[in-house]
Amino acid sequence: MNTSLETASPAAVTQGLRRVAIDPVSRVEGHGKVTILLDANNHVQQVRLHIVEFRGFEKFIEGRPYWEVPVMVQRLCGICPVSHHLAASKAMDLIVGASPVTASADKIRRLMHYGQMLQSHALHFFHLSSPDLLFGFDSDVNRRNIVGVVQAHPEIATKGVMLRKFGQEVIRVTAGKRVHGTGSVPGGMNKHVSAEDRALLQRDVAQMTVWALEAVNIAKQLHAQNPALYNSFGSFRSNMLSLVRADGAMDLYDGVLRARDDKGQIIVDGANDQNYLDLIEESVKPWTYMKFPFLKSLGPDLGWYRVGPLARMQNCDFIPSPLAEAERREFIAWGQGEPIQATLAYHWARMIEMLHSIEVIKELLDDPAILSGDLMASGPRRRSGVGVIEAPRGTLIHHYEVGDDDLVTMCNLIVSTTHNNQAMNEAVRSVAREYLDGNELTEGLLNHIEVAIRAYDPCLSCATHALGQMPLDVALVGADGTLIDRVIKSQSGQLQRDLASAIGLPA
């Protein structure tokens, strides 16, 4: 690992380096910008993923009554509201002394969470990434979208819609509503699953399992058909962090923190999530609003890590469901004894997690505890609580302090995309070094950079608290500050060269 991307100072520009800017990235939520610093020989020297907007999540939450928080945090992000709903609930459980929550509450929440995992992974793979993966990164942009997939592979696209819809239905029957769910509350849940809703879901779960298995096979075949590309594209060594169950099993809802180094050796294990601040620190860079978390024991240069499906797949010792565990073993074998560091392997791991989610959903639907049993627990009141959950994109941390007046006095959130901040920078740098050539910005380069970032399924609206549109703006700036080339890619995929207007890059 190295951190040379952090050394892109203005002074470097005067030393014969120049910048390429890409702003922002399509099919990624939020507003991002990429700058690539070149040296005088046109070699990529440094890369930065900039975040250009900031809205204060924490200020939005502070001052509110604690019982409102699990509902209000869903409004932070329209993409992963359930993850915020449950992470906040877990933190507030500790505030109200509900540790642990009842068995029924735990299982209904898990059902909700795995439904969220399913619908999010289905959307990302089938509709945001499959156009790249099925048609190739250089294919016609007018074809490289979900409609193109529907036309060329209608059965794949339809299954993706159905899988996502099924996940949404799981959320509806557990959270109470399709959106703005109120099911999970500090101390437990406020409703059971109805027998009627359970029956509707049970009717479809076998079909969903078949389709999820097919999706794993698609991802697996993509790697098998082009191992050179899939193993090398955006590949770099990193540490990996995730929750695991106390016995080392994959657990996406609750557990202890585990980290492995870039050689796959466990370097942190069994860490209590309440003590995350002993484990993780965040550094701040002057050129982006998004922070850079790192493992304190290794420091900022060596301690950064990846989260999400790729990390979870390799951090756990096993997956506690048979179909997904068989697929995990095959995935691990692909690495031939080494950790899999390839960025595109996120897709394969993501589909194994989707299969696991279906298996967990099936098991929970068969559990009578979701239909009846105590829903609420309580105990001695506490001032502080931390809720950690494995959201679709990776580890999500909610930390609150609540005063005697029941109002939130402190809120700290570390979202999945922030954990992956440095990793996304590294992925873009790896791709840019391979595909950037000379003084011309090509559509192919833009596509490859987008593919690398998209593999992490970043939610920039979540990480930076911004919502935005997704045109693509790339500028090539010479060492003397001269704009050599600039390409603007509209939402419809049309490219336009524009050397007239300022690019407005931060230093």
């Binding site: 399509s26 099919r27 939520e29 809205r55 204060g56 999540f57 200020k59 939005f60 209000m72 409004r75 932070l76 329209g78 993409i79 509201p81 959307l123 509709h127 945001l128 156009p131 979208n145 979900i146 409609v147 529907v150 036309q151 209608p154 696209a157 339809t158 993706g160 819609v161 159905m162 996502r164 819809k165 099924f166 949404q168 239905e169 399709r178 959106v179 703005h180 509707l200 879901l201 009717r203 479809d204 079909q207 939610c459 608290h465 919502l467 997704m470 509209s490 939402q491 419809s492 995929g493």
Partner: protein, 165 residues
């Protein structure tokens, strides 16, 4: 399939937006008003979400007509009404799709034209997290709500949109 519900109301009203992002709340607020006003009307179903996505194409199945409601920074004041056509725009590539794109997903998935869909765009100005809707936006909302109720109560025959599969 669970998703293929046996019986649906012939009219769907679908609003989207974030109640905590200033004027982005106009869509869900309008929907809440209509839901209350039409609570006894079994012919109308009101649904909402943070944003439109692919699976919402399934909510269009077996409808006779659909009213989409959203806040807009660019429409006329106080609101603008547009009869929609299915279209493959670039919103396919983001986490948030346009209603035209959702209609196109319906077309391509089912091989048939979607029901007639109308967009009610309500003029908004500010979309900041934690802000309430602005006074101007609320005035626009009131006018839009009145129009929407009249539209929903009036029997209408609308042309089925063209569909390119």
């Amino acid at each position: 399939m669970t998703i293929d519900r046996p019986a649906v109301a012939p009219v769907l009203v679908f609003g989207w937006g974030n109640l905590s992002r200033g004027d982005d709340a106009l869509g869900p607020l309008c929907l809440e008003h209509l839901r209350d006003a039409l609570a006894a009307d079994s012919q109308v179903e009101c649904l909402d979400d943070y944003q439109l996505q692919i699976e919402h194409a399934l909510d269009l199945v077996r409808r006779q007509r659909v009213l989409f409601i959203d806040a807009s920074l660019t429409c006329q004041t106080p609101f603008e009404v547009t009869l929609l056509e299915a279209a493959q725009d670039a919103s396919f590539t983001t986490h948030a799709m346009s209603p035209q794109a959702v209609m196109q997903v319906f077309c391509t998935m089912r091989g048939e034209s979607p029901p007639p869909c109308t967009l009610l765009a309500i003029r908004g100005e500010r979309f900041e997290l934690g802000e309430p809707p602005s006074a101007d936006a609320l005035a626009n909302l009131a006018a839009a709500q009145k129009w929407a109720l009249d539209w929903l109560r009036a029997p209408q025959v609308q042309r089925t949109p063209d569909c390119v599969v």
